[in-house]
Symmetry: C2
Subunit: 189 residues, 2 copies
Amino acid sequence: MTQTGISRGQAARERLITAAQELFWENGVAATTPRQVLARSGVGHGSLYHHFPTKRALAIAAIQRTSEQALARALAVLNQDRPARERLRAFLTRQRDALAGCRIGRLTADPDVMADAEMREPIRRYFTALVEALATVIAETGVPLTTATARATTVAAVVQGGYVLARAGGDAHALERATSGLMDLLEGD
Amino acid sequence: MTQTGISRGQAARERLITAAQELFWENGVAATTPRQVLARSGVGHGSLYHHFPTKRALAIAAIQRTSEQALARALAVLNQDRPARERLRAFLTRQRDALAGCRIGRLTADPDVMADAEMREPIRRYFTALVEALATVIAETGVPLTTATARATTVAAVVQGGYVLARAGGDAHALERATSGLMDLLEGD
């Protein structure tokens, strides 16, 4: 394969992953068909099966990518060069598309994903790394590390649960109320 | 129809609803087929279509029932005859099957449910009533009502998010850490 052939192949692979990420988010993994991925990506049938011989292989790649991107976005806020309390507030009050839900969190309700250890693994890694990063920031505010770890789990949970409540009520502000209620408790401490 | 016929019909209807509740929880609404509902309930084909002419009608009835049962369980704890702080602690530390997830919360990740206003309605009502009941209890601990409402949303969100984290990591204790981290903040206040 020529250099151009390789990069064209990589471009097709990327388009397939992006299409799968979008469709999984819109419709869930189970309901997404190879036909939809082909239509969304504009990639040919042969190329799909060359890069991803099974739907499972594509799902694993797409979930890994979504997890990496979400973690990079969270760490960009948590590792800013400013005081720990401000970083924590910035994380909790970050703009989120509440009604669309979390691209990672929603996967935990997908039976196809939960039944497959390789699909679950990037999701587990995402939350482990997120809680660790949050615990580091909270500890920097002067809280002992064991307390900081429990609070970090609470912070990650309130965001995930805020999405659930927002979607349940069709009310984007539910996520804001949930995170601001926690922010007040953290800052009053 | 004789009296016995009516009660037999009601019993079949109940068995269908219970089977649908279980299957939706195990596999999601989209993946549940009428054939599975028939097998699980032991009810005949004709009876299914008599009580629930469409899968949608059965789904609405099952989601309504699940929401009512979950709310009754939560209110039983929140309305106990004991001090408000203890009721709040009892709610947060209540035994929950963390890895199985919340029967209501998980429905908000189901695209079939979210796309249907009648299926969404009992879920919305559940969370509205839960947050109201929590706000009443929190206000009884001496917190102003607007603060109590924000905190009530935080409490409901941390439970929902704790389920998400527990399922994501295959770690039931994540839910406990999330709720105990919040409990410490609420009690230290």
